[in-house]
Every structure is written in C-alpha cells, then in structure tokens.
Symmetry: C2
Amino acid sequence: MPRFHPFMDENKKPQLFDHISPENLEKILSCSVIQEHDANKILLNQGDAAPGIFLILEGSVKTLRMNADGEEATIRLLGANDTCLEAVLFMGGPSPITVQTIGKSRLLLIPEKVVKTRVLEDNEFAVNLLRIVTRHYKNAMHQIDAMHIKSPLQRVGYYFLTKHLEAGHENFELKLPFKKQIIANYLGMTPETFSRVLKQLKELGVDTDDNTIRLKDAYALCHFCDADTTALCQRHDKSSCQVCMSH
Amino acid sequence: MPRFHPFMDENKKPQLFDHISPENLEKILSCSVIQEHDANKILLNQGDAAPGIFLILEGSVKTLRMNADGEEATIRLLGANDTCLEAVLFMGGPSPITVQTIGKSRLLLIPEKVVKTRVLEDNEFAVNLLRIVTRHYKNAMHQIDAMHIKSPLQRVGYYFLTKHLEAGHENFELKLPFKKQIIANYLGMTPETFSRVLKQLKELGVDTDDNTIRLKDAYALCHFCDADTTALCQRHDKSSCQVCMSH
DNA sequence: CGGAGGGTTGAGATTCATCAACGCGTGTGG
DNA sequence: CCACACGCGTTGATGAATCTCAACCCTCCG
C-alpha cells in the first residue's frame, strides 16, 4: 500500500493536525484507514457508537438527526478537509447524530482508540480538538438563534455572508457548495421557501443564478451581520462598516 | 480573606474539577475571584471578549443571543455548579453570546489566562473542558433538532424527560428549575404556547401544578425518548422499554 | 423519446405568534 | 387594613407566516 501523505500542502491541512509534529502525525495516520463510499450511504446511525473521527478527503457528507416520521434536521454540512465525530467521541454515550454521505466520497477514519490515547499524550492534539469542537459549538449557537429569532430571509442572508467572508472580500461571486435542497434543510426551511427567499434577495442586490451567487457590491450582505460576526470582516473597524450597520 | 473551599463535598464538585489534583486545583482557585450580582445583570455582552469561565456558586444564569429587535434566543439555562464560557474562550474571537443573571447570584470567575495556561499544563483539565464542551454541543444539537422537527409538545416532553432522567427514575415528582417564561423561551416558544402545551400534557399523564410536575407512571414520558437518549434510561435494555417505544 | 431529479411557482391549509383581557398572589403605601 | 399596582400565568380570538400539495419547467441521461 502506498504511504498516505495527503497533507504536503500546508494550506490544505485540516485543522485537526495543526502544529502536530511529524512523528505524532505518523502515529495517528499509521492507525487510520481510508474508505470509499457511494452517495447517500449511512456511515453511522444515531444511537450507535462512533468508530472514530471521519476526515473527508473528497466528496461531501452531512450529519443530521431524524425523528420518527423520517424528517431530517441537518446539523452540519461537510466538504473536503472537514472532520466530524470529534465531539461525539468525548460525549461518552451513543452518537446523537447520523452521518451520511451526500455524494460519492473518500474518507479517512481515525479510530476511537487512537484519538483517545493521542489526546492524553499530545497536548497540541487536545487543543486542536478543543478548538474544533468549540467552533462547531459556535456554529450550533448560530443555528439555534437562527431558528428562534431570524426569518428565512435572514437565515439565508447570514449563510451567504459567512460564505462570502470565508471566500474573501474581493470575491463578489460565490458558488453554492451544496444542492439547494440540502442547504434549505440545513437552514431549517423547505426548498420552496428557500427558492422564494432567493427571489427576495435578488431585489436586495444578491443575485443567485443557478449555483452562482453574485453580489451587487461589497455591502450587499451587511444587513445580515451581527455583533460577533463583524470581527471576521475586514471593514469592521472602518467607517465604511457604519454604512453596513445602518443599512 | 477566608480561603475559598467550596468543593469539600465530592458530590457537588463541578465537572470542571474532576480528577484535578489538590495542587492543581489550588493553582486555579488562587487566581479566581468571587462576584455577587443582582437579578437581570448582564455579565458579558455578545461581541465582547470573555473574561474567563463563570462557575455558578448560587443563583441562576442564562446565556442567550439577541437580534436587532431585542428578541432573545436562550442558549443555556444554568444553576449552581454549572459553568459557562469555557467554549467561548477557545473560539478565538468575540463572544457569540450574552451572559445574564436570572436571579440574585454568586459566581466564581476563573480568569482567561489561568484557564489557557492550565489547559496546556494539566491534561486532566483539558479533557474535562473537552467533555464539558462536547456535552454542551450535544445539548445544542438537541435544540437544533427540536426547532426543525419537533412540535412544541414534543419539545416540552423531551425537556421534562431529561429532567426526569437527571432526577432518577423513582422520582415521579419534579420541580421546574426556572420560571415558566424562561423555560418557554429556552424551548423556542411563547409563554402562551407553553401554557397550552402543559394542558395537553395533563391528558397524557403529566400533570403540572404550579411549579411541580407529577407523572402518572414511569412511562408517561417515554413518548418523547429517542435513540440516543434511551442510553440514559435504566429500563432501556429491558423488555419494558419496548412498551415505552411502542407508546 | 421518455423518465427521473432538481428547481420554481401558485393556491390552500395549518400552526403558532400576537394581541387583549382576566385571575391570582404578593408587596407596598396610604 | 384596605386599595392598588405589578408580575406571572392563563385563556380566547385573530392573523400572519411558513409548510403542504400540486403542477410545471428544465436538464441530464439512458
């Protein structure tokens, strides 16, 4: 088997391995296995024990919860270099979430045992986990708040804003990273509602054409910013931000 | 100043200090400060930097997010021995949440600096944080799923179920830990809806009289259980659980 | 060519929030 | 001691927002 070296490019290294020494990285990778899966394959069922951490090498995956009627609540949508189940391993019980591929995917599974020993022996690894889990948790808080006190329009707007900030400010053109119905469910609305919201956004200077979002100007999404998100914006301390806020 | 020794009773020790050696605990406590606050006092605003971890010694506190209209989305409700802001410290930005007392409260503040040095020097402390944060995250997942795919009745039912499981099975009588309107907002509904739900629950064998919940029998709340919560139930592997599930 | 899946649009149904009124217990000041 | 205000909770009537259902279009692909 050819040795697995997916992280030669530092820019694409997953956060999970930040600052990990080559020897320690080797200890993790030598125990991990690569898996390939078709679309819509369930990798873990809610209520079962998590086998370890999944790192997405290629493809896309979602984590979700399901009720008795088969309705799904999407918790996270993951693409390449994202990881899941880190948190579940430390919850000390059966998994509260189901993990399912969206499209055909290639994954790395880091077994539970390795994770749990590494976390006790490698402080950097422990801190990485802590940072990842807290980031997820922050995201979850935004999701909770979105459900209670945001309209569908605001939910989509904020989602687009985060994508815009990830992509960088100069970028006025974004691609939707997932199918619309997938995003719609992640944002807690039906595909119909999502579609109608896109029409409203068009009038506000956010034009969605097929899978491409085009912003009229750099402030088109400022409506949807909030107190803790401004920190991610390059203009947040400039006077121009006042323009955003006053929109 | 009299030395601070709140944790002589092992049963009441907060999870944050599990398995921490006396010397290491001393390092934490010697840098921490006790604060007293009136009701409805804001301890930290969304968008500001977190000063450290708050440990509730007495009273009650909530964490929340607020929108431009002043509507609140409650993230967590905390009582004695609960902690908050552990996660926020590792998110690496301004706080996504506001922290506010509910009633008159006495708190211990563990400054950020202490937390961040201890976590690198004390693996047990790091793992405790990881466990706490993941527990919060799990809770957040339940909240997300509740908003998407649960009715108000199911939300209240599940909330009562978790309280029932915390209190122990033999306990058919529970006290609401917070005012009804506080719980209602936490569950993402209006006080009016909460009140109407309680009436429905009465017909299902869950009688709420003032602040006391009385269960008709041990199975009254089994309706509201789900795949990952059964693990917390003492009957989950017995045949009687089938009775629950088939309700 | 025909079928399947994704997306959009319109009409109707449903659910929960809103608004208003009321009851009740408590604390306060005349 | 009573009158009153206030906070909390409940109840009923109304309305708005989103989901549901159905039809349709489009593209892709066998």
